[in-house]
Point group: C3
Chain length 129, copies 3
């Protein structure tokens, strides 16, 4: 937790995608203060026409390298979320993986009972986590 | 915002899928009163067996043209949501893109802090939007 | 309702995937007390590198058979959710479809107005459901 979904266009190398996943996980750990192995990531690659990502009039140019990152998470502090966005954009840009204008992120909140990490247990409810 | 995901079966033409996306965006703009470029759409195409969409006993026949539209959005008024469903079904049917019995829609709500449209900023929090 | 998404790695047979869907639906019906035809399931198959599912330090071993089940649902009682996790893990394991260590589940809650099952209607609002 969080569960992190990446939607991106086909054309990137496996290595590139893995790096995006790695960097994102680094930022998740750092900003949301989760354990290192709190990693749940799913990538879906799309044909170019399958993604139509504009900018709400914010004048943000998108390229074929656009990435939509969708998190499902227990509640997070507003300041941690803002820091997460900022750090994710900065670190993905520093590695030339995703330009800041090509990064869209959205977060949906769920509750403690919304997670079973294995063995049919609700680990946030039964005391394991 | 909203983020709109389309899940549908393989077999439609690219043109047809693009039209579905266009019409949906028109209805989003009209019913949710968002800017024209407030467009964030992602399509995933599936093998027929990968989608099993029934009807909760409502006696709705589904075909291989079934489309599931999943929105993530900030809160919307109930009456706007109902109008959105109604208009989306009507307009997709008028263009013979999706029959009213083949359209399923679901909406999940998130908050202002749940959106970063680019540059690592939370544009609903920092005054840009 | 609920809408159930399955993310899994390529390599399973169609028959196997269908069985996973069937068993899951059985458990949805039983634990959430929904009608038999309240079935809305979508599968997405991924390349191995596209899924990186660890364990939050819970010491849960994952294999290439890992399955992430993501539900969107109206509110459910905590005890029903826990029973759902437990029964799903048990029944998928009994059929040797998904080992208990390879099953991750997450649930996101939405409201009555968040569902249109067809014909552009909001069936939880208009009295049909």
């Amino acid at each position: 937790m969080p569960l992190v979904r990446f939607d991106l266009q086909k054309g990137r190398s496996v290595e590139e995608i893995k790096e995006i996943m790695d960097i994102t996980q680094e930022v998740v750990i750092e900003e949301f203060k989760v354990p290192e192995r709190d990693r749940y990531q799913i990538v879906t690659q799309h044909e170019p026409f399958e993604m139509n990502i504009l900018d709400t009039g914010l004048d943000i140019e998108r390229s074929e390298k656009v990435v939509v990152v969708s998190l499902t998470s227990r509640p997070r502090k507003k300041e941690d979320v803002e820091k997460f966005y900022q750090q994710l954009a900065e670190k993905l840009a520093a590695k030339k993986l995703v330009a800041p204008n090509d990064l869209m992120v959205n977060i949906t909140i769920n509750g403690d009972e919304g997670w079973s990490f294995g063995y049919g247990k609700a680990q946030f409810l039964n005391g394991e986590l």
